[in-house]
């Protein structure tokens, strides 16, 4: 069931009617419609047998969190009864140990399952024990990395006693299976979404219109940019190797940068829009990432829900752990205070991006891509005082528009270098292409090369005019969001003839772009994670 399909439109329409009708006649059971719809969606799109992995994940995390909460309650009672400070401390330590065992066991079940489904075949292949990364025929369940990380985040929040766990498994299962999030995220947090999922509500005309607009914007990005560019990107990067002329590789990387953004953020806009039709606002996943002024800033704006997860559950726990505090103190003593305070964050960032790379897959190029990001961010943090001194010495005014544009372009280039290890599946080929780009970037007419590779619009370097116009539209909208405007409210507030003209112009562009999607799989890149 594709998002732009009659089946999906009918599915959402039936769910909306059922949801709001239930809200009128039996509001207590309104959430049940969302649950039933989500299960049916997963059964049809993700297949019924693979639903079992989602049930196992939900069951393990639900049982684990129930046990954690029970132990917390028992610990409080036991501490109250214990006499003296030392006895209270001993009780605390005893229950902490028990709680840790439960949390580790829950993680072991979930990550063990994810490890087998997502990594086992690739690991065997890397050690020469499998013919290919798919030779074992293990099928990766739809959205497993997203719903599993959301569930594990929930366990950690309960472990940290942020809130009481959900007593009903059936209700908890709605949080895990909520259908818009299983296609390609975002990774929702229970505390932020549960109240919305279980609320009773009447249809909101404004909410519906906003949801439809976001859905349409996502479709526009996906069809008028991502699907238009993907063919040319594949034509170039599918055969790229060390001897491919470097300007051709750079063109391929540029195509990928825009195609990937439109595919992922467009897909997220679509599912967020669908979710908003039911009054549920999911976690934000993008905030104009290509306006970032540093790589760290980029990662605060790109795939934000994964970033939040990593920050809360990997970065901080590691950076403030006892060994890291010790490392900080040693670095302060041996080097200086600034480095001492930075070093734990640098190490934690490298670990975080290693995990981010691993989250994308066990292939070496993902690990290389993750580590590249981690090391660049760590280096930038360590060198920040030197850069500040240099800026003062050279009288560079960082608050000017000129500097902002320079910093944005520099960040785009730094991100693009990382893409060599993201979209090229061999680290050796990625390095060879990068070396050729850095050492041998010549400005010459590459249009004949592009034509020879089968690129359909060599005159505009693979960027079809439809995509160029659509990119310009996305740029203008992004710029307004960046300046703090609520673009959806602005569009919905336009006078009717003007609004219709905007819709018509975008609709015509969209219709033109559909010819590029004919015969293509509409799958989203991030649906494979």
């Amino acid at each position: 069931m594709e998002i732009l399909s009659l089946q999906f439109a009918c599915f959402v329409a039936i769910m909306l009617v059922a949801y709001y009708a239930t809200g009128k006649f039996a509001p207590r059971f309104q959430w049940v419609v969302l649950l039933v719809g989500s299960i049916v969606f997963y059964g049809v799109v993700g297949t019924w047998p693979l639903l079992s992995f989602m049930i196992i994940t939900a069951l393990a995390t639900w049982l684990g969190s129930q046990k954690l909460a029970r132990l917390s309650g028992e610990a409080k009672l036991a501490r109250k009864e214990a006499k003296g400070r030392d006895a209270k401390k001993a009780v605390k330590a005893q229950f902490l140990r028990k709680r840790r065992i439960v949390a580790v066991a829950t993680f072991a079940v979930c990550l063990g399952m994810l490890g087998y489904l997502k990594y086992w075949n690739t690991i065997l292949f890397n050690f020469g024990l499998a013919k290919s990364t798919t030779s074992l025929g293990i099928v990766l369940p739809l959205g497993i990395s997203f719903y599993m990380f959301a569930s594990l985040g929930y366990v950690l929040e309960v472990y940290n006693e942020k809130y009481d766990p959900e007593p009903s498994f059936v209700r908890f299962f709605l949080f895990v299976s909520w259908f818009p999030q299983v296609i390609q995220g975002p990774i929702n947090r229970y505390a932020e979404i549960s109240g919305q999922l279980f609320a009773t509500r009447r249809p909101s005309w404004v909410g519906m219109r906003r949801g439809c607009l976001r859905l349409a914007y996502g479709l526009f990005k996906k069809y008028a940019i991502a699907n238009v560019l993907v063919g040319n990107y594949n034509a170039i990067m599918g055969v790229a190797n060390g001897s491919t002329p470097s300007p051709v590789v750079v063109t391929g990387i540029l195509l990928y940068s825009f195609q990937m953004y439109a595919d992922f953020s467009g897909g997220i806009d679509m599912v967020e829009g669908v979710s908003e039709l039911f009054g549920v606002e999911m976690a934000q996943n993008f905030r104009q990432p290509y306006f970032s002024t540093s790589l760290a800033d980029f990662w605060r704006r790109w795939h934000m829900s994964l970033g939040h997860w990593m920050k809360n559950y990997v970065f901080y726990p590691l950076a403030v752990s006892a060994p890291m505090r010790k490392l900080n103190k040693q670095a302060t003593k041996m080097l200086d205070k600034q480095i001492g305070r930075t070093v734990s964050a640098c190490v934690a960032n490298i670990v975080v991006f290693f995990v981010v790379g691993l989250w994308h897959g066990a292939e070496l190029h993902f690990i290389a891509w993750g580590l590249y990001n981690g090391f660049i961010i760590a280096l930038a943090d360590l060198l920040a005082p030197s850069f500040n001194r240099l800026a003062i010495a050279l009288r560079i005014k960082r608050e000017t528009l000129g500097y902002r544009i320079f910093a944005t372009a520099r960040t785009f280039a730094v991100v693009a270098v990382g893409r060599y290890f993201d979209c090229i599946t061999s680290v050796a080929v990625g390095l060879a292409c990068l070396k050729a780009t850095v050492c041998n970037l010549t400005l010459r007419d590459i249009r004949p090369d592009l034509e020879a590779l089968g690129v359909t619009s060599p005159q505009t370097f693979g960027f079809e005019w439809v995509a160029l116009v659509a990119l310009a539209v996305v740029f203008v909208i992004s710029l307004r969001y960046e300046r703090g405007h609520d673009v959806r409210a602005e569009i919905l507030g336009l006078r009717l003839p003007v609004r219709m003209a905007v819709y018509l112009a975008c609709g015509i562009l969209f219709a033109f772009s559909l010819s590029f999607s004919l015969g293509q799989e509409e799958a989203f890149m991030y649906a494979n994670f």
Binding site: K162, Y316, A319, V320, S321, R325, G340, R341, T342, D381
Partner: protein, 80 residues
């Protein structure tokens, strides 16, 4: 040792000056303090007050104002 609000503000000023810590209640929400500053605060609380701030306490509500941070440090000092 009694930890006062002024002590906490002094510590914060050492990490990032030119911020009105007495008034501001959106230090995290408005991006006045970033993750580096938070780690610096955790490290400084350890150095200056002998208080360990665990990762689970690193939430915006505890770092949005000097007052909230002071309350957190006092609570943790009492627990220890």
């Amino acid at each position: 040792m009694d930890i006062t609000l002024d002590d906490v503000i002094e510590m914060l000023e050492d990490i990032q000056e030119d911020v009105n810590y007495e008034e501001c209640t959106t230090l995290i929400d408005d991006g006045v303090l970033d993750s580096f500053d938070i780690l610096a605060i955790v490290s400084a609380a350890d150095d200056e007050f002998d208080v360990t701030i665990p990762a689970k306490e690193i939430i915006p509500e505890n770092f949005n104002s000097a007052k909230a941070l002071h309350a957190l440090i006092c609570r943790l000092a009492e627990d220890e």
